[in-house]
């Protein structure tokens, strides 16, 4: 397991500059910049026929279905520690253009969404709607949302940061 990409990735996620609205490299092995035209689909529905209204209203993982039938997993957005569902759910069943990184690893192929727009003529927007929505829900700045989220706080109070209830972490 390597850690070489972490500083680059954290810089990229925390950065707000990218006037060109085109994908940045995150320094991940197997990444390739990609701008693709896709339909946003409910993955569970697409694979099994178990469908929900409005693709599950943001509670189901979504997929990016290309014209040739290729199905991509958008595993990440441009917010730190967040997925892409908040950015994609407004486009359930619609065609969009997605800009980001297509990452092919031995275990998985996935897409890191950095920008998106509805086709044919929607405006480009950064894929950071997880923190936008979190900030609206919680009434506070979302820059370090993961340290202030009530669900996370409750879970880590229950288990501790090691996931072992009653065991305290003592730095070496």
């Amino acid at each position: 397991m390597k850690m070489r990409s972490l500083p680059v990735l954290l810089f990229g996620l925390l950065s707000v500059s990218n006037p060109s609205l085109a994908a940045d490299s995150w320094g991940i092995d197997g990444e390739e910049k990609a701008r693709i035209q896709v339909t946003v689909v409910d993955l569970l529905c697409e694979l099994t026929g178990n469908c929900a209204e409005n693709c599950g209203d943001g509670k189901r993982q979504l997929g990016l279905l290309q014209e040739d039938g290729t199905l991509l997993l958008p595993a990440k957005n441009n917010d730190i520690f967040a997925g892409a569902t908040a950015d994609l759910i407004p486009f359930c069943g619609k065609k969009i253009e997605a800009d980001g990184l297509l990452i092919k690893k031995d275990q998985i192929t996935m897409f890191a969404l950095q920008f998106k727009r509805e086709l044919p003529d929607g405006k480009w927007s950064r894929a950071n709607w997880f923190t936008r929505d979190w900030s609206e829900r919680n009434g506070q700045d979302a820059a370090r949302w993961f340290e202030n989220d009530p669900t996370i706080k409750a879970e880590l109070e229950r288990t501790g940061i090691l996931g072992l209830p009653g065991v305290t972490y003592v730095p070496q």
Binding site: L6, L9, K59, K104, I108, M110, T151, E155, I161
Partner: protein, 140 residues
């Protein structure tokens, strides 16, 4: 008349095929650790066990897909857990994040991703990778 019947049958079958891409899954029983799919597969940090548990909870609540990573280093993205059809910030997955579990379910392999529909968490061994003394807390 036969031609018309054939044409109608063909048209109806074509509509059925194009209206759903659903396929049969493959029944599987898998044992492995629940992981944050992004941190583990992108290799941006060490992403297993107690060293990474806090971050794995952050990412699960943040809506990044949760997967099972088996001993042969295969990754299975979970789309459903038992009766719960949700897979974004799913409370059950947050609760058992990083645990080693044995699950029964259906596997759908498509375009480089193993998708898993879990219909039963048959066994939960808790967290078995106790590795924070070796790796510290990842990423911070």
């Amino acid at each position: 008349m036969k031609k018309l019947t054939f044409a109608l049958c063909f048209a109806l079958s074509s509509f059925t095929l194009s209206s759903t891409h659903a396929a049969e899954g493959q029944r599987v029983t898998l044992t492995g650790e629940l992981i944050d799919t992004w941190c583990y597969t992108s290799e941006i940090m060490y992403a297993l066990g107690t060293a990474h548990h806090k971050c794995a909870v952050w990412c699960a609540v943040g809506g990044i897909p949760v997967s099972i990573r088996t001993e042969d280093d295969q990754v299975y993205v979970i789309l459903k857990v038992e009766e719960d059809d949700t897979s974004v910030a799913n409370p059950r997955l947050v609760e058992i994040q990083t645990h080693q579990v044995t699950v029964n379910g259906d596997l759908y392999a498509r375009d480089g991703v193993n998708y898993l529909i879990v219909d039963q968490v048959a066994d939960d061994h808790g967290i078995v990778h106790i590795n924070h003394e070796d790796f510290g807390i990842q990423p911070f």
